[in-house]
């Protein structure tokens, strides 16, 4: 039975709600930074009078005198109070109290968070919230990162920046994730927002070094320019040299993903001219010799991305080279290290002087072995975040477990991301980490083989786990010791880890695993499934059992229309559902679209499939106040 569910008006607020409790989104895949420092939440503005002549189209001079109605006083008081409210959840709740609170909350909100750029239109958002200083927008779904979606699907920044250019002249911060941003967008941004301070682009594309040059030259108040895992085209513009020679306010500059060479002299000048610079993340075109020069100039850095960490070609034989150890020793404030993009392991010991202070270390591009790692990691007693390649093997992980007792987040990436190879890390490493790092909150672990026992052990040893993402790279691999499915392991995770909100499963999984998730995963918000399950029951368990589920991404699993329909009661509470290469028919998707008018149901077709195919390639659906978007490419049909 299909119920015709109409969303409450409060659902529009849920679109502005940040799902994650922590300041930094847990599905943020950026280079690590200490937990205490985030890119987010510029402090809310405090004004002496709520209705005074604030910036922007606010409530400044009134053309004619209006006697203040009795509630006006209360409203003014409320405005003063609500300025201090930072949490989005609280704000959304406040806005539901009554019209007056709704109005005042809208006036006092300064951080706008939109988890799905298509859930609400720029016009609607900018009409309601008129005094925004900081905007966070997320676009494409995560599976698009893995080539599961054709290019040019959407998530364009252009309509947003156009709308904001007119309504938010005082905008200071833009944070985008998985959006398409053009050079023109960046130019408009640079021109329109005179006090612009922070630009953070995560997994974005569509722009190049010419766009960066415009931002560098026009945004005179720029404090943060962070490009993280974004694709930047090489327009052969020396963008670094576009920063003003007279000095900058830069506090953070991250360009490790920019694949184009840069003019080192310009960079050196920039660092010299940026006395507030605390975070510098270089790309792989900066040699270790050049890094040395920068470190000598800026020993006060707290976050350093080391670039290639190997010498450039013309290093004389037998020459001593600069004293890298001293350079690191002089940088007494470094707490976060990353880079090592082309590391020659000989140079690794140079970082020893800073190890004891490190809270965050990203070796995930460094092909180092256990024997390279051990002398370094044994000094990293304060490490909280560690990203590494599986080249360190189980032995390396054991060394981590032995020393890093404060570890909160571990990510082990595969050096060789193929399915049918032996793989250097296994349940041995996972078990060791679970025993040594009891405070672990977040783990991402790629491996070729795993056992239920190790996963169960982790569920018991690490009760603080919030994020558990295990990727057994061979599809549908069972426990390699017992031959059993991995159901019990993941079952233990949801059962024992009471704080778990994000889960990614893999290996051979039957419906039983999903029964566990549905039964115990009561606060799970994000679930990622691939090549798993036996029948519709699997998905039903999850949709019926997990009331907090927000983001569900499924690929290549045998879930069909009946399962899809079992979630009707819940889809308005979700940010999105992605299902690709499952067993959904057009009719099934159509039924959903008809039952839930505020849901945008996108069917994405891959090139080589025929229209007559029984199953839908990809279903991507999300709640929205706007209905069908107007920038739909030809391979998408909206039901």
């Amino acid at each position: 039975m299909i119920t015709n569910k109409k969303p409450r008006s409060s659902d529009s607020d849920s679109i502005y709600m940040r799902d994650d409790r922590t300041e930094m989104s847990v599905d943020d895949d950026r280079s690590p930074s200490p937990n205490s420092i985030t890119h987010d939440s510029s402090p809310t503005r405090t004004y002496n009078t709520g209705s005074g002549p604030g910036p922007g189209p606010g409530s400044s001079s009134v053309p004619e005198y209006l006697a203040p109605y009795p509630d006006q006083v209360l409203e003014n008081v409320l405005e003063n109070v609500l300025w201090f409210l930072t949490s989005r959840k609280d704000r959304n709740a406040a806005s539901l109290v009554c019209r007056s609170w709704y109005r005042v909350e809208a006036l006092t909100r300064s951080d706008l968070f939109i988890g799905n750029c298509y859930a609400v239109s720029p016009k609607r958002a900018t009409s309601r919230f008129t005094r925004i200083r900081s905007v966070t927008l997320k676009g494409r779904p995560r599976f698009a990162d893995f080539n599961l979606m054709p290019p040019n699907w959407g998530a364009h920044f252009a309509p947003w920046v156009s709308a904001m250019a007119m309504t938010y002249p005082w905008l200071e911060k833009v944070h985008l994730k998985r959006m398409s941003v053009t050079d023109d967008d960046l130019a408009l941004l640079a021109e329109s927002f005179l006090g612009f301070k922070e630009l953070v682009l995560v997994c974005c594309d569509g722009f190049g070094t010419s766009g960066l040059a415009i931002v560098a030259s026009r945004c005179r108040q720029l404090k943060v320019l962070d490009l993280i895992e974004s694709e930047v085209s090489d327009d052969e513009v020396d963008w670094i040299s576009y920063f003003p020679d007279t000095g900058t306010c830069l506090e953070s500059l991250s360009f490790d993903c920019v694949e184009c060479p840069i003019d080192f002299d310009a960079l050196e000048r920039l660092v010299a001219n940026s006395p507030s610079l605390m975070k510098l993340r270089l790309n792989r075109h900066v040699s270790i010799g050049q890094l040395h020069r920068l470190m000598v100039q800026a020993p006060h850095l707290t976050h350093l991305g080391t670039g290639s960490f190997s010498p450039s070609e013309d290093v004389a034989q037998g020459e001593q080279g600069p004293d890298y150890v001293s350079a690191f020793a002089a940088c007494k404030s470094i707490v976060c290290l990353s880079g090592f993009r082309e590391i020659i392991p000989d140079y690794l010991p140079a970082i020893n002087p800073v190890c004891a202070n490190l809270t965050s270390l990203n070796f995930s591009y460094a092909n180092v072995s256990a024997e390279h790692l051990k002398p370094i990691i044994c000094n990293c007693h304060n490490l909280q975040i560690f990203w590494v390649l599986d080249s360190i093997c189980d032995e390396g992980l054991q060394a981590v477990a032995a020393t890093c007792k404060e570890l909160r987040e571990l990510r082990v990436f595969p050096f060789d991301a193929r399915e049918d190879i032996e793989g250097p890390v296994s349940e041995v490493g996972l078990q060791a980490v679970s025993e040594g790092c009891r405070k672990l909150q977040s783990i991402l672990y790629f491996c070729q083989r795993m056992t239920n026992a190790a996963v169960v052990a982790m569920s018991k040893n690490c009760p603080d786990l919030v994020v558990f993402r295990l990727c057994i790279m061979g599809r549908q691999r069972p426990d390699h010791v017992t031959g059993e499915p991995m159901d019990e392991g993941f079952g233990a995770i949801v059962m024992n880890c009471k704080k778990l909100t994000r889960l990614a499963v893999s290996g051979l999984l039957t419906d039983r695993a999903f029964a566990y998730i549905g039964k115990y995963g009561k606060i799970v918000r994000t679930l990622s499934v691939a090549f798993a399950g036996d029948s519709d029951m699997g998905l039903k368990y999850v949709l019926e059992g997990c009331p907090r589920l927000q983001k569900l991404e499924i690929r290549d699993s045998p879930f069909g229309d009946a399962a899809l329909l079992s979630g009707l009661h819940h889809y308005y509470n979700m940010r999105f559902l992605w299902m690709s290469a499952c067993k959904l028919s057009h009719q099934g998707c159509q039924q959903i679209a008809q039952a839930l008018p505020r849901l945008v149901v996108e069917v994405i077709k891959h090139e080589d499939t025929l229209d007559m195919d029984e199953y839908v390639d990809t279903l991507y659906m999300y709640r929205s106040l706007e209905g069908s978007r107007d920038d739909v490419p030809r391979f998408v049909s909206i039901l």
């Binding site: 080539n147 895992e229 082309e342 591009y365 991301a417 032996e422």
Partner: protein, 220 residues
């Protein structure tokens, strides 16, 4: 299985077949129960460039997951694959293209040439065989007229006129700190154990007797 095992193979015939024999053999769990069509494969990381390795197994095993109960050797990885095509699946494993590309160039070692003032570095991951590496080195130092003695095939790589140029012998330092001749171990093993390269003048290569043809590696 650690790469250090490789050094023990130096004395034996390092042809690819015997290398396979000395590796841990891997099979499906339940192999002892006599499942048909179980293929033993060697699974050293990266060794499976040769696409012809038959990783197939009887298709009924795939659909009947219950057959996986029962004991298997302790560290026998499961080579199970779904009955679908063995081709790699789009977007799996879920590693971003950015990261995959970054891994492509990831094993840099310094190259020193006797008599040349500057060190170079070369990315071993970029090459698939000794021949390719030697060609690359030849290109890299192309301004000097020298040849590299190629023991693999018992003939010099490029410049046949040995009298005009200086002949160099390529050697490398392995994980244990020993200097070895190139070509003794299979390529992949060399990549993992090589710490740095040196092109040594032949005239100084007294400690490195040329290998006899029968002992040359025929791999790659």
């Amino acid at each position: 299985m650690s790469p250090e095992d490789g050094s023990n193979l130096l004395e034996s015939d390092a042809a690819s077949v015997s290398f396979k024999e000395t590796e841990l053999t891997l099979g499906l769990p339940g192999e002892s129960r006599g499942l048909a069509l179980v293929e033993k494969t060697s699974g050293k990381r990266g060794f499976l460039e040769t696409v012809d390795l038959n990783l197939g197994r009887s298709s009924n095993v795939a659909s009947d997951h219950n057959k996986y109960s029962g004991e298997s050797e302790a560290d026998v990885p499961n080579m199970a694959k779904p009955p679908a095509a063995k081709a790699q699946v789009v977007g799996w494993p879920p590693v971003r293209a950015y990261r995959k590309n970054a891994m492509k160039g990831c094993k840099y070692v310094k190259v020193a040439v006797d008599g040349a003032p500057y060190l170079r570095k070369v990315d071993l991951e970029m090459h698939n065989s000794y021949q390719q590496l030697l060609n690359a080195l030849q290109d890299m130092f192309s301004c000097s007229s020298f040849t590299i003695r190629n023991y693999l095939n018992e003939r010099t790589v490029m410049n046949q006129d040995v009298n005009n140029g200086v002949e160099y012998v390529p050697i490398y330092e392995d994980k244990d700190g020993d200097w070895m001749m190139l070509g003794d171990v299979p390529w992949k093993m060399f990549v993992e154990s090589c710490k740095r390269l040196r092109l040594m003048k032949s005239s100084e290569a007294t400690g490195f007797a040329p290998r006899t043809p029968s002992k040359c590696s025929s791999s790659n």
